[in-house]
């Protein structure tokens, strides 16, 4: 077992200016938002350029980092004092953060390019690119920050970008509602993260990753560490759409498709996994918290898969799949150093093949007049070959077709889980089978079978600016897994940042262990079932009323209904009661007091009846009282 390396102070070199990665897209966003209509013409090019610029810096930093000794590969440097005496803003470039940076800028740039085509007809394309740039900057801040506060700022920054992009077509009430929901549900998670950060600060007196080594965290009680772990997990659940905070992700598909690809598939939703891995120093000494992480992961991977099985909306189907795949990553992240490399590896390959499929779905929608219902697709393979082929490559990668990316990373997670806890392992295998089913269903319904198009649909292949990113992504979907996993290349690369397990797992080009065989068998069975129901058989253009299970899955496992019944309605009642109480209770008391005084004076002023004789009478009484008092005092 090897602990993570010490974080070293850095200066100079490309890493010394790696803050440019954040600054460039941020600048882009600022220019596009403040520049207004003047920048309409070239705004999208600026957006792409800034993203590519960040990518270049990331690559150069990566090269510089790999040129260092492995135990010197955690480089941190301070930018400025943020909150004096508490937090200094700084950057941490280590194998973990640079992997994320490469994924974010790389896939991000491809999606930027794709969006030029996809959003070409939207009058607000400039704003869209501004938000995308903002997102990239925030996401990079999240992963590159060397402390929890910086991470939190990025964390909320991506939340904001997500809010803005989901609600990009804000004139649609559904989009606005979905955006709002995403933000608020995320805030619940952020609440947990915030309290977690508080606990870290009060326990350890520092929020910098460099100070929170395992030696330091080991001094706290396990209870504290478990609490910190669970609180951070709550944050992770919010951002990564894990149970029980999953409900926002499906609604988030209201946003434009490139957004779904970039934010709600490839990068932002994986931030939770990053958080858990980055906080390994806490989780690894709190087994209970780790166990909860794996349970949440497994539960979500099954829930997401079940939801995916029933959705007819292609984007929602993919969203369910995303949930499910992040569940795998969470599971891996909960397994400690043995699972980290697979989790992050799966995260990266997933970033490629899921972005690939989302963009493919976008391409299909683009061709089908923004139709998202798969029951209105069918037989699209012949008309849009590039899209179809790249989509199918992504499909094969996700179901874990041997030798493709997903196979290595997912299989790694399943094997590690199996060693750790057989129940979790088998449930993960079951999830893989479900993946085989719903993804095959999607392929068959979309690209094969009979045409069920709407009358005015004239599908056509998308322009090159949209297909080239698909091609590049699909190359990643094919080869990246093998590149990373075979020979534990990625595990060794990450080790300075996250440590190594006691013994390195063996990796084979074909890893047909019992678990892998079972997985393959289940996936094949799932695919076959999908073929019989959706490939060979007729697919009705209108969804039939399914069984209870189907309805259960279609309604997102009643997650929304549950939220509504448990939180929303009581909340509404609470609000109404509070408003009533405030108006009638607190303010009523105040106004009542005022009215009481007013009424008393109103009655009291009747004494002033205007008759001088009455006044004289009271004067006489007063005089008598004075005389009486004088007498009394004199006699005392």
């Amino acid at each position: 077992m090897q602990s993570p390396a010490e974080i070293v102070q850095h200066s100079g070199g490309v890493i010394g200016v790696s803050w440019l990665m954040i600054a460039l897209p941020l600048l882009g966003a600022a220019i596009l938002l403040l520049g207004g209509r003047r920048t309409n013409k070239w705004g999208h090019f600026l957006g792409v350029a800034m993203s590519l610029g960040a990518f270049v810096v990331a690559v150069l930093s990566f090269v510089e980092l790999t040129g260092l000794d492995p135990d010197q590969r955690r480089r941190a440097f301070e930018l400025f004092e943020f909150i004096p005496g508490m937090v200094n803003m700084g950057m941490l470039i280590d194998p973990l953060s640079i992997s994320f940076a490469l994924l974010i800028t790389g896939v991000g740039s491809l999606i930027h390019i794709y969006s030029i085509g996809y959003m070409s007809h939207d009058r607000d394309r400039r704003r869209f690119f501004a938000y995308l740039n903002l997102f990239v900057a925030a996401m990079l801040l999240l992963v590159l920050s060397d402390n929890y506060v910086g991470l939190f700022i990025g964390w909320e920054g991506v939340g904001l970008a997500s809010y803005l992009l989901i609600g990009f077509w804000q004139h649609k009430p559904s989009a606005a509602t979905a955006a709002q929901k995403a933000f608020i549900v995320n805030r619940v998670g952020d609440f947990g993260l915030l309290i977690g950060i508080f606990t870290i600060w009060t326990t350890f007196g520092s929020l910098a990753f460099a100070d929170l080594t395992q030696q330091v965290t080991g001094q706290a009680s396990e209870g504290t560490l478990t609490a910190i772990g669970l609180l951070l997990l709550l944050g992770a659940c919010g951002k990564s759409a894990q149970l029980p905070l999953q409900s926002w992700l499906l609604d988030a598909m209201e946003g434009p498709t490139p957004v779904s690809a970039l934010i709600h598939a490839a990068t932002m939703v994986t931030a939770g996994v990053y958080l858990v891995v980055r906080s390994g120093a806490f989780f690894e000494q709190a087994p209970t918290a780790q166990l909860v992480v794996t349970i949440v992961g497994v539960a979500t991977l099954l829930a997401g898969a079940i939801i995916g099985c029933a959705k007819d909306d292609i984007k929602k189907g993919l969203a369910g799949s995303t949930m499910s795949q992040i569940g795998y990553m969470m599971l891996g992240a909960g397994l400690g150093p043995a699972g980290y490399a697979f989790a992050i590896g799966h995260l990266i390959t997933h970033g490629f093949f899921k972005a690939n499929m989302f963009l493919g779905a976008g391409s299909v929608m683009h061709a089908m007049n923004d139709e998202v219902d798969m029951r209105r697709y069918g037989a699209l393979f012949p008309v849009m070959k590039v899209t179809a082929v790249t989509f199918i490559i992504g499909y094969l990668a996700i179901i874990g077709f041997p030798m493709l990316s997903g196979y290595y990373t997912k299989e790694g997670i399943i094997e590690t889980a199996m060693e750790h806890n057989a129940i979790l392992g088998w449930l993960a295998v079951l999830g893989a089978g479900l993946t085989g089913f719903y993804m095959s269903r999607m392929i068959f319904m979309t690209f094969f079978g009979k045409k069920r198009w709407a009358d005015d649909a004239h599908p056509h292949e998308s322009p090159a600016v949209m297909t080239w990113p698909l091609v590049i992504l699909s190359i990643g979907s094919i080869g990246l897994g093998a590149f990373l996993i075979l020979g534990n290349r990625f595990m060794n690369f990450l080790s300075p940042a996250v440590g190594l397990p006691q013994e390195l797992p063996e990796t084979h080009v074909f890893g047909f262990g019992p678990a892998a065989l079972a997985t393959l068998a289940l996936v094949a069975a799932g695919a076959a079932l999908a073929w019989f129901r959706y490939g060979a058989a007729e697919v009705p253009a209108v969804a039939p009323r399914g069984s209870f299970l189907t309805t259960f899955a279609r309604r997102d496992l009643y997650g929304d209904a549950l939220n509504e019944a448990l939180l929303m309605r009581p909340g509404q009642w609470l609000t109404r009661i509070a408003v009533f109480f405030d108006n009638r209770g607190v303010d009523g008391l105040v106004n009542g007091l005022a009215a009481g005084i007013g009424g008393t004076s109103g009655r009291l002023r009747r004494v002033q009846n205007g008759y001088v004789r009455s006044y004289a009478l009271s004067i006489l009484f007063g005089a008598a009282a004075v005389v009486g008092a004088l007498l009394y005092v004199g006699n005392m």
Binding site: R613, S614, L620, A623, A624, V627, L630, L631, N635
Partner: protein
């Protein structure tokens, strides 16, 4: 001994007169009663070594002030007597309670003190050869400032009274000629009809009837009518009562209007009003 007798006689007299002042219905009686109290007090001053004050009391109070009261009473109406109905609830009861209580308290206060026999003013007066010179010396030496202020007060009061009671004449005073002309130019050159003519009663408070049996509005005596309406002695004939009320209301409305300056010939206005009224009647 002489003083005691004088005191008791005058004390009884003055208290009785004071009560009379409070309880007599007619203001003139009250004024006379006040005069009695003042004279009694003047004598009591004299008894108590204050001859100058006694004189002043008679001259200023009983002479000047009381005359002033009587003049005003004449202006306001000598014969009017107050209504005995108390309009403010509980006023009388509480007034008597307060008055009695106050008197008792004062009496108690006085009674509680054991006075030594009076020093008397003999010594003080002797040094200056009599009460008046001594008082004068005091007024014009020690209290000269207060005295001068009083004089200012009196002048101010005199001025104030003149300003308050004065009414500016804005038109030349009407001569007899003007009055006659106005009368003949007006709608009714003849005298107003007397009351009670052709009526069942010849009492002065009943209006005259015209040949057709209707009331002659111009014959209504305003003062009496008002008095009777206020006291609740309305004519039994509801028609007449209504008519009287109407006339009075008309008067009230006119009174309520702001008075500007001195109206030279009141008669004319009154006649015009009456004319308008009878015209209304005709309709």
């Amino acid at each position: 001994m002489g003083e005691t007798i004088t005191f008791w006689v005058l004390a009884v007299t003055s208290v009785a007169a004071a009560l009379g002042l409070v309880f007599s219905r007619k203001a003139v009686y009250s004024a006379l009663m006040l005069g009695v109290v003042m004279l009694s007090l003047a004598v009591l001053y004299a008894v108590q070594d204050a001859p100058f004050l006694a004189a002043v009391q008679i001259i200023v109070y009983t002479g000047a002030v009381m005359m002033l009261f009587l003049f005003v009473l004449m202006l306001v109406g000598v014969d009017s007597s107050d209504s005995l109905v108390e309009t403010i609830k509980g006023q009388r009861f509480w007034a008597v309670i307060a008055g009695l209580g106050f008197a008792v308290l004062l009496a108690l206060a006085v009674g509680n003190v054991a006075f030594s026999p009076a020093t008397g003013l003999g010594q003080v007066v002797a040094s200056r050869d009599g009460n008046v010179p001594t008082l004068a010396a005091s007024i014009f030496t020690r209290h000269v400032f207060a005295f001068e202020v009083t004089s200012a007060l009196l002048i101010t009061a005199a001025l104030g009274a003149m300003v308050l009671a004065h009414r500016e004449r804005v038109r030349p005073k009407a001569t007899q000629r003007d009055l006659a002309r106005a009368r003949f130019a007006g709608p009714q050159p003849s005298p107003l009809p007397g009351p009670g003519t052709y009526a069942l009663h010849n009492a002065i408070d009943m209006p005259a009837l015209l040949p057709d049996g209707t009331v002659a509005v111009t014959s209504i005596n305003r003062v009496l009518a008002r008095h009777e309406m206020e006291e609740g002695f309305e004519p039994t004939d509801p028609e007449k009562a209504a008519l009287i009320k109407q006339v009075l209301q008309k008067d009230d409305a006119r009174d309520a209007e702001p008075v500007e300056g001195d109206k030279p010939i009141q008669v004319k206005d009154a006649l015009q009003d009456e004319n308008a009224l009878s015209e209304e009647d005709g309709k």
